[in-house]
Amino acid sequence: MKKIHIVLLVVIAIAIAGLLTLTKDITTYDSIESAKRKEGKYVHLIAKLDRSSPVVYDPVKDPNYLSFYAVDSLGARARVVYRNSKPTELEHSDRVVLKGQMNGEVFECKEILLKCPSKYKDDPNQQFKEFEKPVATADSTKTY
């Protein structure tokens, strides 16, 4: 066998070992219910901000404490605590991906990814609703 083949085998072996060690880092996307069943395990939740409950964030009291409720597409609901500053577009978001783990009834979130609708692209009709209150006239809105 050529030396280069040995090198190849070694590299491939390392690559496979590398990918195998990954298995413990691979997690899954879950619903709130299935995350509750895996309490303490790190998961990704795909959910929505529950707008019927208040978003608690008071930077004067504690800039590293955010709490809100999330609902998923199956209708389950959970309180989410995020020990960091409030992502500024949270209320504006359409979907959120929450990375963290269930801790009792509370989802301890380590990272939030927001999916904000570019209203325009996702729902053009929504977009034009704001036009239907015709407050704007050509003169008043022109800014140069």
Partner: protein, 817 residues
Amino acid sequence: MQYEGEHLFIGQLGHFFVLLSFVASILATYAYFKAAQTELSPETAGWLKMGRLAFGIQVFTIIAVFVVLYLIIYNHYFEYKYAYQHSKRSLDMQYLLSCFWEGQEGSFMLWTFWQSVLGLVVIRTAKQWESRVMTVVSLSQIFLTSFLIGIYFFDIRIGTGPFVLMRNEFPDAPVLQDPNYLFKYLTDGKGLNILLQNYWMVIHPPVLFLGFASSLIPFAYIVAGLWKRDHQSWTKPALSWSLFNGGILGLGIMMGAAWAYESLTFGGYWAWDPVENASLVPWMLMVAGIHTLLIYRSTGHSLKATYLFIPSGYLFVLYSTFLTRTGVLGDTSVHSFTGEGSTLYWHLILMMLSFLAVAVVAYWRERKNIPVIRKEESMNSREFWMFVGSLLFFVSAAYIIILTSLPFFNKILGTQWAIGQDVEYVYNRVMILVIIVISILTAITQYFKYKDTTRKYLWSNLLIPTVITLILSALVSFLGGFNYDKYGAGFLAAIHLAMWAGIYALIANGTYIFKVLKGNLKMAGASITHLGFALMVIGILISSSKKELISINNTGIAISGLTDVKGKAENPAENVTLIHGVPTPMGKYVVTYEGDSAVTKNDRVYFKINFKTGDTTAKKEDFNIYPNAFLVKGDEGMNLSSNPGARHYLTRDVFVYITSWLNPNAQAADTSAFRNTWVKKGDTVFYSKGYVLVDNVITANKNDNKDLPVVDSAWLSELKVISQDGRRYDATPAYFVKDRQPSVKVDTVYTQNLVLNINAVRGEEIELGIRESNAVMRYITLKAYGFPYINVLWAGTIIMVIGFFLSMYRRLKEKRG
């Protein structure tokens, strides 16, 4: 119906140019293909001429399309969707170009434009290779322009035209059917994404797309070589092109990193985000390919590897476009672009498969005739170690792209996998090992000669750099203060090893330039590239492992039950709230929020944050940082989109961004009321975050105190406010009576949100009013980081790119000579 104020001609002209461009590239492909097939026959010249003409028309039309779209954006013709969607009247001039890159159509235009320019260079320089290389280039142009044509083929729209009208795109919107819609409704555009309103975003996309475009040319040369059954003479031009690609793509990627560093709020230049990975992988493949191509040219080995690596570079450029543009990445990327629908998805798959087929078929036809050297490389040869390095680069590129593609695999296989808790570490722990090996190879490999090297030659040259490295490494390890222990001793050891390896690469390449090449910089392209690479490695290691969080907030609530990967207690919280005008200690600094600008016409606010070191610190610092933020109108009030500010030193950056701001204008009326309690000296009153101690109450009146000239009588209080975290503040509200009219002196303790007054008096007793309010405050919440030696990374990048171009220049000279 007649619509008022529309400019329809310019859009029709633009659309005509797009179609002409598409047709011209089909024609160019066909003509060049025929020229290649009829090579050496009398017909060739005619076909070549036709190919050049068609390609020339294609170049002209794509430039015309650019100009037309620019005019539409510049003149604010909001009847066009592109202008409406991506621009706005108040947009600064310098960002008009960024509007192009924001949309998918503009990006494809830019890409097509660069491939056109490179095609012209090929026509001028390729000589015998022109017909074949240009067939591939023109084929790619057919695909790229087809993304822009936006015509219906049965019920499927192919591509998205940049010149579509709003009212045609949204036929169901009644407001757009109003003949006066342009004056009534579409008076202004949606504007440019604020993240793109940054000077890096004006230059980063063109450079990156030039990188993408230039990876096509080496691909085309390889296909041409296989097609012509010539395995030698394509290598010269392909090597120069690959070096150009390595330099430009590397530069483009690092400009993106600089943009992320300066305008994104990750607090870093690299986050292993899918969009970043997708452009890094083609670069790594190309670098692997450059090395195997060099081996082939010097020894005849590694040709098959080259046929794998270099074409993969372009195929992965296409794949990365697919990943980032079709929305497949969906939930995983911070800046994944919105999906543009399933047509684009299949369109890009078709393009990828076509080019894969081109490469595979070209190879398959020639597979039996590819020259292979049976004799084995010696362990003492340069080619052996170069090949090991290339292979490692290739495998690490595969590792990165497999992980990045997880969302795509999920889509195909219906699985739900995701990378878990610590995405960056999943990459870092593998890449640091790769970096150690690659850096050592970078250090020693040039000291080997091709074919065989004597031990004596090797050691006599490697001895000095090795000794210097050992000394420097020991110094760095003992005095450098590397103690990044988030991931335990193993990772820290890897950081030390990587530092040594980086230093070795730096010193060894530096000595090589002076000792072996005798300082002949013209020949030193490779060494300079490697030296720059070594600096980048060192810069990355220092700035990442010694990145310091300045805004440590220990006053927050302790977090129970949460531990990080290695089971250590959670990091201290990262955000600190600053009250206007109140100096707050933060690390070695005392930080004050001194003020903010008015909101500008672009809805941007600038903040002034002062940093001062304490008097005890030896090196005094006192500077201001001006982070800024855009106010974005959301459904429920204004959202803040932050833009970091930084103080740059030669050896470190202090980096700040605003995570939350209470906009005083938008503030709700203060509804809190005073809570009154009768107290006397020595009493205490509690409030929500501590208590107030009445230290003293002094009463005075005109009769017995001549120092009271203005008022008749006074009640002066001396209060101590003691908060939960043990801080103490003084407050002195007072109560005066003059001519039987009482007046009150209110005092405030900003940091505690307190307003204190004396409401009434009764002998020695006072009625103390305490109000806890949000409205008294102006505050911001921020994060601050220190990045040491980030400039080493930027300097390394520049040196590496210069190295690539020096090598390319040398190869071009060689060709002429």
